[in-house]
Symmetry: D2
Subunit: 401 residues, 4 copies
């Protein structure tokens, strides 16, 4: 057992930290100013940051294997944490932003040659963005058997009908393609009913209807969260990813690494919140002493530190398990980090907000926005409760006859 | 001891419930549609609702004494709860919306004859709106001794300099006047340094700079939460409310009833959340059964009911104490409801959101917006922690030698 | 709505407070010293206290109607709270101790003439004690359909077989009779299978096997919590209480008032804990200041006050509902107080313990013992979770088609 | 980074698991039966288990260096967890029980030659037991400057006066010696006032007065928790451990490894609780389904798993830090595990108790006793709150100018 970083990690981390210090943090203010007027999509200066990141060889760090930087999950995880300190800028600047990351993994692992050529390549180059269309407004879509969108084969085409929402990034004008989850065979066994197809954004019948809010935020700078309607949308059968009925399996495979990324970024956000909380508590006085001297605030700071340390270790161990025994062997841990991390980080952000008073709610600090992001992750990939139940079943099974 | 409503309460409550059913709920959808395009201020249909409320004699219900409906705090409290079911519409429709309510109380109790004539009368008639400018960005302003805005006397005028933020309603074009808290004498004893003056909105030197956000919400339909700058703003000395050095005492007096209103509206919001949570849980299926059959969801519903019942009783008792022994005698309870209610209702709203999945975060349900409101009340009138400390001191004092 | 006590309550309360001050608190130390050596049963001085309580007309206060003091639930509740400040002494001293209270209620309401003469009378006189035998070790007995003890009719006798545990008071040598719940007809509808019979303690076949612990406590001074075995125990059919199949209904009727008593005593315990917590915090110094000046301790004190106020109001309202609309109409509230009170008071006791350091765990302070009592009430009459589920169903039912 | 055990750990762990399966668990029932009648001290069969453990080379595993098994903290930690599954038997059977472990560490590190010969040797051989006398009833003794016991030099002797309590193991007849913390120089700088001296149990003036309870438990089988009075107790100056004024430093050094041991044993207790909770939930039915199918119970099981995984990693990392950068470098983590582990495990035990119903409180299951142990660790070595404050200060210091 060894809790130190290996050399590859250390080296990448130092380069990334330098990029953060020299390029990302200094750009934050201008980024948000530009974002306020740049509509649905990133502010122009993102392209500069991307160019700089690529120059520094901080590009596609998330992607193992030949297509990407070739890091293991355990090596990438600490980098995702660092990016989480500026989660709206660092991930897209390094081409490590969801949902493209998961989509690139899917294409790298399950895509056909032409799919890789057509979509993976420009994604890897940061030339286009993509979206992942799974959640539906009309059903509890954490249960994949509820998926109502239909993908019906008609000759050499698939015909797609359905309604999706909270499709992150879809309002971004650079978003060129959707990976759409739907049912090709409602009569198959429950986990063989679903398939995934690639749908170019300009396909007739596909309407991006409106941006959904997350606690008032439209998240316009990373393309929002769209409601998307599919009415007799037709794509060639070659747009099928993998095989018919393979959608559920692909969705599962996509989950593992994405979970690590989300959770490590959340931990980075929590670290930033602790820094902000400490600085604010030290700089303000109330009732005759610094806020930092108040026992309750100290309790929050200590609890935050204690929780962060635990969460980070759990996520890192999960990454290690995925690298050594695979996603299936890391099943319990992959669920565990999803249960523990968003809720834990949400708590920390809430306390940091409270220390900031009204300012904590405002656009002048990143805390309220980060909070909304953490809160929404208690749903993303299925609500915590679904994962808890599943994890409990596995625990109970150990003692069944 | 008797836990039933008296006749006056019952009668008013029935009329108000009818107004909610017949006018408010049916208008909600149109209200939000209009609000989306009506800028900083209420949608036009609010005027129709106000007229109707006045016709039904549901007007100024919050105000005791000759100027208002003459109800006691205990009689008004259940009406505030009912309004809380539609907290963006029912209070302004009945001229019972903050911050006007508190401002009208201040003017009724402490205002001079011309101040009442000039400002209280049009406020009582719903012709103008007003704002209350206390919170400052640069200090922990829950500690009144930190207030940095200066109100300096110069001949027959006061000269005001300072910066305020989260001044609710100030972006509303109808907002005609600000009650501004500042320091007239920084050398006086700590609670005699502050005074309040009336500042008409169009006074030179007063700049409404921007709308502050609450999470991502701008709350434009009730006039937002403004940052306001005062640069050598001059008003006649007659604009002083009460006496010089009386600002802290007025602020304290203003708090009690406002606390009751806020808390009862929160309880109404919680009741609405429970209804939404139940309806959603009954209408959705996941993993082979209705969400309503999931044990964890049932636990949330039960806990919500149990918490609401306790919170309501505590607020009602506080109202009764204020009516029978006055604000000072109800000090502990007035703090207790502030500590317990926003946090308790926030919890319930969080669970209702969780049951709704992504929809709970969205603009399609009122839950995320209500949540942001409840969360912000953990700061309003000072953070919970300040009130807890003060309450604890009083408890400890019982046992000091 | 009126939150003040009526005259009867005030008058009784003042007399009871005087009895506490003059007799109960001064006897506490000697009571525990005697208890340490008096085996399974109360220390001798209890009889003196009983005599004194009777002289002061503080006797059978819990019992409405002709047999008792004739107080309503709402009038008795504040007295139960006062008793809760010394919950091991005040209730038995005033003949208001469980399980006799519930048993007397059952006999007063459902008992036949001879049952009342034989058992109710000596119980009312404090000459004997009794036990209530419902919980079983082998099943989840919160579900009455699980009850495994059989009560089989054989001619003019019932033959009882089964095993019970946690039968409070059964080791007390004064415990003369058991009310035993068992199944007379396992084939009847689920809530008509059970009956209750009176079983004198010396009936052949009844064995009091051992005292069960509650954490490390044997609770010897109030007769412990026994495991009791019934092997072909025979009683005359006249020992049936009410009718065959009526056991479940009697158990339900018995619950309501008992719940009020338990919860109000818990609130008295919580008040005592707050006093102890404050006194300790004021008397100890650590790291340069009084423990009472530590922010976290102040937070606990404030939270405790806020929770107590809410819990008390909820229990009092429940008592009022029982008096005005009956147990059935108060169903939700009776469950609500069971869910909220033990858990809330347990939290307060935990904090009081923490403030006391190691002493809080010890026999030198009442806190650890009170804590164990509160904790065990999260099971008594069924675990909290059962009540929550049932309460949630009622809430959901409002919205079912 | 690597989360797997090394070979030494794996090998020891397998041998220890075999010992648990073959010797410890089978002895549990008899151990508790014997303990019930064997007074203040271990039941006779403990000696058999000790002999067997020694035969299997499972002896003094906790002690690094030449005197013990030579394992690192990181290697021993997983063994301590295994012992925690039967925390009353496995640690003493392997001579790895507190407080001897800490005392042996102190003597190995700071003892003089004759002190090692006289006390360390028989302790290493399991021939005697020892106690550590630090906590005092009259002061908040987590603040070492409060220590009131005096150690006054008088010629070639130290004269000790003071009162200690919760001195674990002191009632055990085998307890031959006390390490006593007291003040040799109240005028020295605050952390140089204290010294530690060895006091043989039979020294005149030393009175073991009574056993203190922990939630009703006397913990007689491991020698209880004594109140001990020192009245003019005289020992030779050679009994000083280390140097005069070195007491605080020794206490600090003693803490680190002890913290690891306690926390890992707690994690073992938590694992046992989860097993018991699962088995019980699977074996009981209520309201028509297995308790294991209730959503709330599943939630507890999942939460327990998630918390255990996090706690374990945090403790292991702390052990690794102690091995690699020393106690001082692991300061934050040593405090973090103290804050997180007892509270976390207490929560799990509480849920396991709740699933067991009344049985969970009883002597028939280990849960209530384990709970009391975990609860008392929220005080041991200072209350959680002291550690949180200290940890927060270190966090804040990062941002001070």
């Amino acid at each position: 057992m060894d809790f130190g970083f290996d050399e590859t990690t250390t080296e990448h981390r130092e380069r990334l930290l330098a990029f953060m210090d020299e390029c990302v943090y200094p750009a934050e203010h201008a980024f948000h100013e530009q974002a306020a007027t740049s509509g649905w999509g990133p502010p122009p200066l993102l392209e500069d940051l991307k160019a700089e990141a690529r120059r520094r060889d901080l590009w596609n760090l998330f992607l193992p294997g030949e297509h990407g930087a070739g890091l293991t999950n355990l090596q990438y995880a600490p980098l995702a944490e660092v990016m989480g300190w500026s989660p709206g800028i660092a991930p897209p600047a390094t081409n490590c932003a969801a949902p493209d990351t998961g989509n690139m993994e899917v294409l790298a692992q399950f895509g056909s040659d032409w799919q890789r050529k057509e979509y993976l390549e420009p994604l890897l180059n940061g030339e286009i963005r993509s979206a992942f269309a799974m959640t539906e407004p009309d059903v509890a879509s954490s249960d994949a058997t509820n998926i109502a969108t239909s993908i019906r084969r008609d000759g050499n085409e698939y015909v797609i009908n359905g309604r999706k929402w909270y499709i992150t990034g879809a309002m971004n004008p650079n978003c060129a393609v959707f990976i759409v989850m739907g049912k090709t065979d409602p009569d198959a066994p429950s986990h063989r009913q679903q398939s995934m197809v690639l749908v170019p954004r300009d396909t007739p019948g596909l309407t991006v209807r409106r941006g959904m809010r997350v606690f008032g935020y439209d998240d316009a700078d990373h393309g929002g969260h769209a409601e998307v309607v599919f009415e007799d949308v037709r794509v060639p059968v070659d747009n099928l990813i993998g095989e018919e009925g393979g959608g559920f399996a692909i969705a599962q495979a996509r989950l593992g690494p994405g979970r690590i990324h989300h959770c490590m970024r959340l931990i980075g956000m929590a670290e930033r919140a602790v820094e902000l909380m400490c600085r604010r508590a030290l700089s303000r006085n109330a009732f005759g002493k610094a806020v930092a001297q108040q026992g309750v605030v100290q309790d929050w700071i200590a609890e935050s530190r204690v929780r962060i340390e635990q969460l980070r270790l759990l996520v890192l161990k999960t990454a290690w398990l995925m690298d050594t025994v695979g996603n299936r062997g890391a099943h319990t841990e992959i669920q565990a980090i999803k249960i523990a991390t968003p809720a834990g980080v949400e708590w920390i952000l809430d306390k940091a907000i409270q220390v900031h008073g009204a300012g904590g709610l405002s656009q002048d600090f990143p805390l309220a926005g980060l909070w909304a992001g953490a809160r929404s992750l208690r749903f993303a990939d299925g609500p915590d409760e679904v994962h808890k139940r599943s994890l409990a079943y596995r625990e109970l099974k150990k003692y069944m006859g």
